[in-house]
C-alpha cells in the first residue's frame, strides 16, 4: 500500500536535511510501528506523507497504491485516503467542529463519487463515533479543538479518522499526553478500524502504546533512515535496552 523509496527531504526554510535515504514498505492490513529517539525524523516523516509544504523532497519517491503522491497537495492526499492524526492538533477558533466534520466527510464522499450526507445520517454517524470514544457531543459544539485538553484533542483526531474512513492512517505520537484510560479508549478506537484493506503507520516513542495497538512490524528510525526492522519483539527489546544498542549495531 505504501512504499517509500530512498527518500531524502529537507526543511524548505533553512535547507536542513531531515530524511536521508529512508526506505519503508507497508502492506494493506499491516500495522507498522515507527520508533526512534527524539530528532530522528519521525514527525517529519508524518508531515511529508501528509504533504506539508514546509518540507521538500529532494530525492526518492513515495508510492501509495503504486502511484507517486509527491505532486499531490495535502487535500488531494487526504481525499485519496491518507490520514494524519496530528501530534499537536490545531486549535482553530471560529470553525465550528460539526461544520468542519460535515465538510471534511463530504469531501471524502465527493472524491468517491458519492452524494453529500443527509443531515440526520451525518448526525447519527458522528454521535455513534463520539460515543465509541467516550466523547460528549457538547465538546463538538465548540470551535475545532478550541479549549480541548491534550487528551480530548487526540480523541478528536481518532474521531475524525473514524468518520473519514481513510485507507492509510498515520498516527503521530497519538499516545503523548494521554493518561492510561484515554490511551485505552484511543487504542480501542484504532483497533476497531483495523481492516484487511487499511494500513497504519504508528509513530511513537514508547512501547506503551504498542501494548494496546499491537504492531505487525516495527521499524527504528534514526537520523532520517530506517536502521532496523523487525516484529513486535523489537519494540520490547528497545524498551528494555534503549536505542543505543540498535544505533550501535547500525553504525
Amino acid at each position: 500500500m505504501l512504499e517509500i523509496r530512498n527518500l531524502h527531504a529537507r526543511i524548505v526554510d533553512d535547507g536542513t536535511e531531515i530524511i536521508r535515504g529512508l526506505n519503508l514498505t507497508v502492506k494493506a492490513g499491516e500495522v507498522a510501528a515507527i520508533m526512534g529517539p527524539n530528532g530522528s525524523g519521525k514527525s517529519t516523516l508524518s508531515y511529508i506523507l501528509a504533504g506539508r509544504e514546509d518540507y521538500e523532497v529532494t530525492e526518492g519517491d513515495i508510492l501509495y497504491n503504486g502511484q507517486s503522491i509527491l505532486e499531490m497537495d495535502p487535500a488531494e492526499r487526504a481525499t485519496s485516503g491518507i490520514f494524519l492524526a496530528f501530534q499537536y492538533p490545531m486549535e482553530i477558533p471560529g470553525v465550528a467542529t460539526m461544520e468542519f466534520l460535515k465538510v471534511a466527510m463530504n469531501e471524502q464522499r465527493k472524491a468517491r463519487g458519492e452524494e453529500p450526507l443527509k443531515i440526520p445520517e451525518f448526525l447519527k454517524r458522528v454521535k455513534e463515533a463520539a460515543a465509541s470514544l467516550s466523547m460528549e457531543m457538547a465538546m463538538l459544539k465548540r470551535p475545532l479543538n478550541v479549549g480541548f485538553s491534550g487528551g480530548e484533542k487526540k480523541r478528536a483526531e481518532i474521531l475524525q479518522m473514524k468518520l473519514l474512513e481513510p485507507k492509510l492512517c498515520v498516527l503521530d505520537e497519538t499516545d503523548s499526553g494521554l493518561d492510561i484510560d484515554a490511551l485505552k479508549i484511543v487504542s480501542d478506537g484504532v483497533n476497531a478500524l483495523r481492516a484487511p484493506d487499511r494500513a497504519f503507520l504508528v509513530i511513537t516513542h514508547y512501547q506503551r502504546l504498542l501494548e494496546h495497538i499491537v504492531p505487525d512490524t516495527v521499524h527504528v528510525l534514526y537520523k532520517g533512515q530506517v536502521i532496523k526492522s523487525g516484529d513486535k519483539s523489537l519494540a520490547l527489546d528497545l524498551e528494555a535496552n534503549g536505542y543505543a544498542g540498535v544505533i550501535g549495531e547500525a553504525a
Binding site: 501528509a50 504533504g51 506539508r52 509544504e53 497537495d73 495535502p74 487535500a75 492526499r77 487526504a78 481525499t79 490520514f83 494524519l84 496530528f86 492538533p89 490545531m90 482553530i92 477558533p93 471560529g94 470553525v95 468542519f100 465538510v103 471534511a104 469531501e107 471524502q108 472524491a111 470551535p143 475524525q160 473519514l164
Partner: protein, 422 residues
Amino acid sequence: MNMHTQPQRTPAETALIDAFGDRLSLLPGDGAVMLKRDDAIETIKHGLPTRRVESWHYTDLRRLLNTVPDFDPAAMAKAIAPIVDGSTVVSILNGKSDAKVPVLEGVSFQRLSETLVDGSAAAGLDPYGSDDAIGALNTAFVADGYFVDIADGVELEKPVELQNLQAGGQTHVRLPVRVGAGAKAVIVERQTGDGAALGSSVSQLVLGEGAEVTWLIVQEQPETATHLAQFKAHIGKNAKLTLFVMNAGGRLVRQEIMVRTTGEGADFKLRGINLLAGDTHTDVTMVLDHAVPHTTSTEIIRNVVTGKARGVFQGRINVHQYAQKTNAKMACNTLLLSDDGEFSTKPELEIFADDVICGHGATVTEIDHDHLFYLMARGVDEKSARGLLVKAFVAEVIEELDDEAIVEALEARLDGWFLAHG
C-alpha cells in the same frame, strides 16, 4: 467670522449647498430646527473635511466624495425581510417613514418628521464638535426616520428591526431610540438599498438605568453607494450596551460611533466586522468617553481586506479625570488577503484619571499556514479551506454574541458576502 481663505468648492460641496437651497421649503421643522439646519449648512459651506483635519486624516471626505446625486423623490424602495424571524420591523423607504407604525406593547414608534415639525427633535440636532461633517450633513437635510421609545422595564423577546432602505438619490434619516430603566431589547439597524445613493443616517440611543441593549448595525450598501453614518449612545448607571457593526458593502462608508458612559457600572462592548472588497473605502471611527468612575468597555474589530479595498479604524478612548477604575480594552485585527488592499488603524487613549486599566492592540496577518494545512489534511481543498478560515476569523466575533437567533442571522449575512466575494 471665518477669516481663513476658502479653497475653491468641489462639485460635491456646490451640489450639497445648492440642494439645500432647493430642498429648504420641503424640509420639516419648526423655527428651532430650521436654525440648526442653517448652522449645519454653514459648516458645509466652510468645506468638507480633508486629511488635514485630524479625525478625517485617513478619510479625506473632500477628495473622496466626488459626486452627489440629486434627490429622487419618485424612487421606490421596498421593505425587506428582517434578519431575525418574528422581528418587529419599521422601514424608512427612500428616506421616508411610513404613517402606519407597528403596535408593540411597551414600545412607541413615532415618525421623526413629526418630531421635527413640533420641534422636539431640535435638541438632538446639535453637532458633535467642530469636525462633525456627518452630523452637519444630516442636520441640514434630515427629513424623516423614527423615534422609538421603549418603556421602563419592558423586555422584548424579539428584535426591533429599523430598516433604512435607499433607492438611489439622497436620503438623510435619524433614528433616536430611548430605552427605559431596566428594559431589555435587541435592535437591528439595517442599512441597505440598490442605488448609487448618498445617505446619511444618525442613530441616537439613550439607555436608562440598568437597561440592556444589543444593537446590530448591518450595513450592506451596494458598491456604488456612499454611506455616512453615526451611532451615538449614552449609557446610564449599570446599563449595558453591546454594539455590533457589520460593514459589508458601500463604495465610501464612514461609520462613526460616539459613546459616553454616564452612570457608574455602565458597560460598553463594541464588536465590529469589516468585510472589504472591490475599490471601496470603509472607515469606522469611534470616540468613547468614560466619563464617570467604575465603567468598563471592550472593543474588538475584525477586518477582512480583499481587492483594492481600503479600511480605517480609529478608536479613541477618553478616560475623564474623575473616571477612576475604568477598565477598557481595544483590539483591531486585520486579515489582509490582497496586495492591493490596505487597512489603517489608529488607537488613541487619552487618560486623565490615574487608577485605570486601558489597553489596545492591533495586528495585521495573513491566513495561518498551520491552520490551512490542518484543514487540507482532512481533504478540504485549498480554496474552501481558505474560505473557512477567513470566515472563522470574523465568525469568532459573532459567536461571542451568545444569542442563537442573532448568531445565525449574522452568519447568514456573512455567508452571503462570502458567496458574492469568495
